[in-house]
């Protein structure tokens, strides 16, 4: 369960940034009074154009940065007051996630399992589960630097899930990936839903959203401009296509 209430994030602007942005404001408000809830067993999609505030929101949820105002609860844990406890519940994956090139998948997974205090037996069981699910056995001992993008993505997926998080945060998880590699992510997101996990993912690809999500919110210029179920979104559409409707809502905001 993710509960976001009255979330704000402001970044201080340097003189140079003010000049570049043509503003006299001392701060830039990247997220402006955002509230939503994501329920277990459902997939919540945060949609928005580039620079809308999606990544900033997801970074706050996953405790990487702190909100200026507002609150975030992960499974009832306040992420600002108790970030380490919240982190144990979170799995975080982005399309640009890097891996340690000089380590092997086995070593990387062990590292993150140890950081998450995963008991040895659970670690082995989970690792084998994902190795089989994603067909990873043949490259488990190869260094990451020798793997293809698809193989790396599989390692990233397993790394995200190794501590069996209750909440999984995907920040544009398929960006820059080919369709075959992106398919693994889609598979993972569906798998998370089946396991009754809370899933939030950001995207601007409507086909992906259509395929996966149960609820969605559209964010632009830091503000939520739409928030409802995917079924209602489809039902209330004024444009011909999902993408057209998304563009219409963003433009009218």
């Amino acid at each position: 369960m993710i509960k976001v209430e009255g979330l704000f994030k402001e970044f201080k602007l340097s003189k140079k940034q003010k000049q570049e942005n043509g503003t006299t404001d001392d701060v830039y408000r990247a997220v402006n009074d955002v509230s939503f809830e994501c329920k277990p067993g459902s997939i919540f999609s945060l949609l928005g154009p580039n620079g809308a505030g999606k990544t900033t929101t997801l970074r706050m949820i996953s405790t990487m940065i702190q909100p200026t105002r507002g609150s975030i609860e992960i499974c009832g844990i306040d992420v600002v007051k108790n970030p380490n406890e919240a982190r144990k519940k979170i799995g975080f994956l982005t399309g640009s996630t890097g891996l340690y090139e000089r380590l092997t998948p086995d070593e990387i997974l062990k590292y993150f399992a140890d950081l998450n205090d995963v008991p040895k037996a659970d670690f082995e069981k989970r690792k084998e589960y994902y190795y089989s699910l994603l067909d990873m056995h043949h490259f488990r001992s190869k260094k990451i630097g020798q793997l293809s993008t698809g193989m790396k993505q599989k390692v990233s997926i397993t790394r995200t899930m190794i501590h069996d998080p209750e909440v999984v945060v995907f920040d544009e998880p398929t960006s820059g990936l080919d369709v075959i590699t992106a398919e693994n992510i889609i598979k993972l997101i569906k798998n998370c839903k089946e396991q009754n996990k809370t899933v939030i993912f950001s995207s601007h690809i409507m086909t992906e959203v259509d395929l996966l999500c149960d609820d969605l919110a559209i964010i632009t210029k830091g503000k939520l401009v739409y928030k409802d179920s995917m079924a209602n979104f489809r039902g209330q559409m004024k444009a011909d296509t999902l993408t057209g409707e998304f563009i219409r809502i963003v433009n009218e905001a």
Binding site: R87, Y100, L103, L115, N116
Partner: protein, 393 residues
């Protein structure tokens, strides 16, 4: 603590597999001194051999004087004496590098010598080839001694009459004392230079490198706080730095041993490298390594890429290592002022220990001031690493 160990273990494994770091941190420090010493001694000895084997052409103008001296000197191996008619011809030949040395006897040389006056000759040489002239000077000095001896005998006196005193020098300083005074600064300098370089690459790789590769975000969402991440990584940075410096010293020691095994110099060096010195050196260098890491890490955290961090940290190398040269100057010693100057204090303290005149109060001041400095730099590093504007820049 467990998380810090997990992070440090992983970082060790990761960095040990980085060929670039390993070459610069382990292989170069290990091989640099044996290689340099080997090349220098080979070049030096081959140059000296060549010089001794080279036939020196000495042009002379007798000016009607006796040829006895020339005949005596020409019996020496690797000398060729050629007679010239006038000085212009002789000088041109020397300038053209056809003749190495010129010797001109004045027309009254023999008469002056026989009358008990000072007999004169002129030597011509090229200052650019001083080694040739030095070699010939030795021969000429020998010939002069023969002439002095002959003259003394002609008046019935011994050589000692003209050289009334003879000095036998007895040096009561131990070799380690002399090394401590004049070369004692080199040891901590080498140690410090390699310590700095040893800390630099891991400091860049573990922070700016991780940021550039996109792995930092994942780490920040793991249930470890930033202080634990920082300390875990810092342990690796300082350990690699200390390892690199230790390997450089081993390389230096091995190459000196190969060069001069069983000599007085080696036994003095063995005496200098006592367990007490090594222990004190490490006691001072561990906080210094943390200080170096504490300076480098905020820069690395601030940098967007490996390259950016490297371009800022490389010039810093000079700022950090330059004060270490304080130990090269014999007059600069550890006192109540220098004991508070980081880097300088470590060099001077080590030098004092080597020379055997270390003041324990000053060593304690050095140690405490370094600990405080290291703590301060760790705090600054922690603050910087805690800033999201820095980490996610």
């Amino acid at each position: 603590m467990k998380k810090i160990i997990v992070i440090a273990k992983k970082e060790f494994l990761d960095i040990m597999r980085d060929r670039r770091t390993m070459i610069r941190m382990i292989l170069i420090p290990l091989l640099v001194f044996p290689l340099i010493m080997n090349i220098v001694t080979r070049v030096q000895s081959s140059q000296a051999e060549k010089q001794a084997e080279k036939e020196l052409t000495v042009g002379y103008i007798l000016n009607g004087q006796s040829k006895t001296s020339i005949e005596r000197m020409s019996r020496m191996p690797n000398y060729k004496f050629v007679e010239f008619k006038d000085t212009t011809e002789l000088m041109s030949s020397i300038v053209a590098d056809k003749t190495d040395i010129g010797l001109y006897y004045t027309h009254t040389f023999q008469a002056d010598f026989d009358s008990g006056y000072q007999a004169n000759y002129v030597t011509y040489y090229r200052g650019a080839d001083m080694e040739d002239y030095d070699r010939f000077s030795t021969l000429l000095d020998k010939e002069d001694s023969v002439l002095v001896d002959n003259r003394m005998k002609s008046v019935g006196e011994e050589y000692g009459f003209i050289e009334p005193t003879s000095v036998r020098e007895v040096n009561l300083s131990s070799l380690s004392e002399i090394i401590g005074k004049y070369a004692g600064g080199i040891l901590p300098y080498i140690f410090m230079a390699f310590l700095f370089m040893g800390c630099m690459l891991p400091a860049i790789d573990l922070f700016a490198g991780e940021k550039e590769r996109g792995t930092l975000e994942t780490l920040l969402t793991s249930p470890v706080n930033r202080a634990q991440i920082l300390i875990g990584k810092m342990i690796v940075v300082t350990s690699i730095g200390l390892m690199s410096a230790t390997i450089a010293l081993i390389g230096l020691f091995v190459s000196l041993n190969m060069l001069d095994a069983g000599s007085d110099l080696m036994s003095a060096i063995n005496q200098i490298l006592s367990p007490k010195l090594i222990l004190t050196l490490y006691l001072l260098l561990v906080p210094l390594a943390f200080f170096f890491a504490g300076v480098m890490i905020p820069i690395s955290v601030y940098s967007r890429s490996y390259k950016e961090a490297q371009s800022i940290l490389t010039p810093l190398n000079i700022v950090m290592v330059l004060p270490a040269m304080a130990g090269f100057f014999p007059g600069v010693e550890l006192d109540y002022t220098t004991a508070f100057i980081p880097i300088v204090n470590v060099v001077l303290a080590t030098k004092a220990i080597i020379a055997g005149n270390a003041d324990m109060v000053l060593i304690a001041i050095t140690f405490i001031s370094l600990i405080l400095l290291a703590a301060l730099s760790i705090l600054i590093a922690m603050r910087q690493f805690g800033k999201e504007s820095m980490v996610l820049r």
